[in-house]
Amino acid sequence: MASERQIAASRRNARKSTGPRSGAGKKRASRNAYRHGLTLSITSSAAYAKQLDRLVREIAGSTEDPILLERARAIAQAELELARVRRVKVALIERASAFGELDPPQAFSSVTQIIRLLNAIDRGRVPSFPEPVDSSATMPSQEPDRSAEAIRRVLPELRKLDRYELRAAARRDRAVSIFLIEKSIGPTNNCEAQNEPNFSQFIE
């Protein structure tokens, strides 16, 4: 168990750890949880917002009911998210096809290699720099082999994106079922709607 002195020291140290102080540090820390941007709301882009509004209007029809419009928005949003994941998938495959891999090749494979190189410079020797790796040279030159190899190289990423796609599709299907119920019965009769044998039971 920690002594009184240790606890006091821990509290003193904790008070010093208040996160980044500079503007640049705060900005960097604000993106700590950022991985791929796929969970960002689609309305955060102006181009999407316009497309979204047109799709919402088409789904909702002539209604001005705000609840129905909101339900239609949920369908449209999920549909556009689905499209976004598909675009990301294709972009990754194209990039792997062009460059051979997603991350640029590293000149040094380990820190030890860098230390060795610096030591060699310290000792006044001319170090031998590792040959730059051209990943695209390892790609087959002909189609369809090139595309197949590109897909193979990004399989882990595609698998992760599949999960996003699955979730977006499930969200859209749920939104469609709720929209359909509320369109015909009205948002005030939800309890009645739940007893109906309907689309939502199929989706679940």
Partner: protein, 198 residues
């Protein structure tokens, strides 16, 4: 109407090597079968076409991965077959590499490989088997992705059918509600009204 709905839906992004008109033909075939009405049904048909397109892409990829593994598979197989008792693998490495390289283009090399294989009661399917074995981890991931896509395609097809059935049911329900609310005249009431008037 259909064109309008298609412009509203996001276009399926294709690889540079894929043809847009082939995708359009696939979607048209589904539209002819399903005959979607309204934006939501169009959405589902677009989804089904996109999923099927991706299934085809991944199936092509599976074949490509096996084809790409053929050379290294043959080389590894030949190293095993060419090695004499007491010989190390590196001693036959050059020969195996040359044969595996020329097997794709040179008929003579192909014949030679067949002879080596037949000495051990094997044929060219052993090369394919080795290629599949070597790419099994990638093929497994692809298979899982294909299974997931196929299940989503089936679900989307079911969604269209259920959506239509549910829509029809909801419309009937709405119509009943409207009739109940309006208090439409019953047949016997209408008959008694007519007799009073007479």
């Amino acid at each position: 109407m259909r064109r309008n709905e298609l412009t509203l839906l996001p276009k399926l992004p294709l690889l540079i090597t894929e043809a847009a008109d082939e995708f359009d033909a696939l979607r048209d075939a589904f539209e002819q079968e399903i005959k979607p009405r309204g934006i939501i049904e169009h959405m589902y048909v677009h989804d089904i076409s996109s999923i099927v397109w991706e299934i085809l892409r991944l199936r092509r990829c599976k074949v490509g991965i096996i084809n790409l593994a053929l050379r290294s598979a043959l080389q590894s197989l030949l190293k095993q077959l060419l090695r004499q008792p007491g010989q190390y693998e590196y001693e036959v490495e050059d020969e195996a590499q040359t044969l595996a390289q020329s097997w794709f283009t040179d008929q003579e090399a192909k014949k030679q490989v067949s002879e080596i294989l037949s000495r051990f009661d094997l044929d060219e399917s052993a090369i394919e088997a080795e290629a599949i074995r070597r790419s099994s981890s990638d093929l497994e991931v692809l298979d899982r992705m294909l299974t997931s896509l196929e299940s989503r395609r089936n679900k989307a097809l079911g969604c269209v059918a259920e959506y239509r059935a549910s829509l029809a049911q909801q419309l009937r329900y709405s119509a009943d509600r409207i009739i109940d609310a309006k208090g439409v005249l019953r047949l016997e009431d209408a008959a008694s009204e007519r007799s009073t008037a007479a």
